[in-house]
Assembly symmetry: C2
DNA sequence: GTGAAAGCGCTAACAG
DNA sequence: CTGTTAGCGCTTTCAC
């Protein structure tokens, strides 16, 4: 009866049904909890499953339910971002959280606002929903998602105002840090270096900066504000410029920019904070470890990821979720701005 | 005939078959290239597919073919490794490479040698094969994989001697760098700090170090060799010890250890390389950017990932692959050891 | 409370 | 070269 081929066939619903002398329908119900099954049968089934070491073929289940139990996570793989700790940590948070709810995580790459990989995955119907870890102003991902009717969550502000979003308080953080720097150590001549303004996060950062400057009664120092800075060479020119204009404090958009900046400064003999102060609008372990350690805003990337995952899974399960969730930040005042 | 419900039903094989007045078998064959189809029919099918914007339901395909077109990538999410650039870069290489061959990447987390997530994914049958990015001496992942008959590739040496492996020449690199440091700047008193010896990569590094020392005619300086160093506190004690023993040069196992080490050294006023020299057996962008930049071995994590993916996919497609592939390294001699 | 049967969208014998 | 048919392993009506 059992065909004992060399490949040990994996045990499936039928097997445990036959073993128990009941129908696989009942077994299915006992497992899923949908429909009524007598307490006694349920226990027998659950026991048998354990004994026979049954575990469902998720592909068959997917096929039947039209639900994959996978979510896709779009991660930037541009040169500049490839090694940014944020995305890695965020992905960990997502993956761990999904695993707890028996979902898996599919990685989707993007560079700039390329949606080809996202489209490929969506067309394959391998995911139930998507997390965008770096929303862009263009909103092309969101458009695609909406047009295909696929649920998604963005980590950071989306240009799709209806998008479910989990964000860190970048604007508020930027505001606070800028204000702090303006209050402290007067007279202060601030410089600002931000990455691509296509990234919504950089817009939030900029907004916070501008508000802080304005509410201090000053004018935005356009000559020392550099937006859309990208790549090492461009950054070098910006730094030179900032030094030329005798900036007393440089605010860097994120940890990567900050690392480059700090390095360039010290390579030309500038001592932080004696000669110039430096702060970052995004902390990472690399800034913790610099000497002197760098003043920075600290956000919990892992928590962001976990929250994004929970939001998305809640949506998939039909619960309603708040449109926007905000996580706080911590301001780490350290020696680089003393 | 077409039920125009609110949800636009996705076009499937039947639709284009009906459209063309042929059977879906023929359509399937035209797409896959398996079985013979007249050139004319094939073209008609391919055209129709384009026009009707058909794209196959991969879940149905998976179910039918018993092949998921997914590979699982096991990534360590221990505290220490969570932000290590290696795994991120490796994952990018894998993901990009898989995408080219129309596969997707499922992330599987692990801490230490926990196999629970791997087991969960394997039991779900959601992947065709696995890449282990941090093989451990215990080999528990490999055992599980072998016992379930799932193909896999390890990035780095595996304790399973039959495992298909793609590795960087860590041993050779470690040998070369150590030799270089021994030749240069005599007299040299070397210290070595390695992470967990459960990780096979650290064993390779250690082996290279030992060989280099021995072939220089010296004895392995056991008092200044620290294996299995883990966590900031332990590292601090090790560094203190190395200073006490008047080490002239510290070799760090990887970029993370090196960053901590360099930071601790400069926080107690040690100047590199004047007071003490520092090198790392694994480079990352963070070491590039230190000042002074740190002498280190450079491996191409992205290439490793891409190669691992190609190997695995080749295996899945039944091609045979060499058991072990080795990628080279570059020795970056920089100011930290001058 | 339980079972029989249909069906998810594709592939793969087998027959022509 | 093409079509018919039978699954793949689940979930889910529908009937009892």
């Amino acid at each position: 009866m059992n065909n004992t081929t060399s490949e040990t066939r994996t045990v499936q619903l039928d097997d445990i049904a036959r073993e128990l002398g009941i129908s696989k329908t009942t077994v299915s119900r006992a497992i899923s909890g949908k429909g009524r099954v007598s307490e006694k049968t349920r226990e027998r089934v659950l026991d048998c499953i354990r004994v026979m070491n049954y575990s469902p073929n998720m592909i068959a289940k997917s096929f039947s339910e039209k639900k994959t139990y996978n979510i896709g996570v779009v991660i930037p793989m541009d040169n500049m971002e490839t090694e940014a700790p944020f995305f890695q940590t965020c992905l960990m948070g997502i993956t761990k959280c999904c695993a707890l709810r028996n979902y898996d995580t599919l990685v989707i790459s993007t560079e700039r606002d390329d949606v080809s990989q996202l489209r490929r995955v969506l067309e394959s119907r391998k995911t139930d929903g998507i997390i965008i870890t770096r929303p862009l102003q263009s909103g092309s991902m969101e458009q695609l998602l909406v047009s295909m009717g696929v649920p998604y969550v963005t980590v950071g502000q989306s240009s799709d105002l209806d998008a479910v979003t989990i964000d860190s308080a970048h604007k508020e953080g930027s505001y606070e840090l800028t204000s702090y720097l303006l209050m402290n150590n007067k007279p202060q001549k601030l410089g600002l270096i931000l990455g691509s303004m296509e990234q919504t996060v950089n817009r939030s950062r900029y907004e916070g900066f501008v508000r802080a400057v304005e509410s201090s009664g000053a004018l935005v120092p356009n000559k020392t504000v550099f937006l859309g800075v990208n790549g090492e060479m461009q950054l070098r020119r910006v730094i030179d410029d900032l030094l030329q204009r005798e900036c007393s404090c440089i605010i860097c958009g994120d940890d990567m920019i900050c690392m480059y900046a700090v390095n360039m400064l010290s390579s030309i003999g500038k001592v932080i904070p004696r000669d110039i102060r430096v702060a970052s609008l995004y902390n990472s372990m690399y800034l913790d470890m610099y000497s002197p350690p760098i003043t920075a805003l600290s956000f919990r990337a892992g928590d962001l990821g976990a929250t994004a995952a929970n939001l998305l899974l809640d949506m998939l399960e039909g619960k309603d979720t708040s449109r926007e969730t905000m996580l706080g930040f911590e301001m780490l005042i350290r020696k680089s701005t003393m």
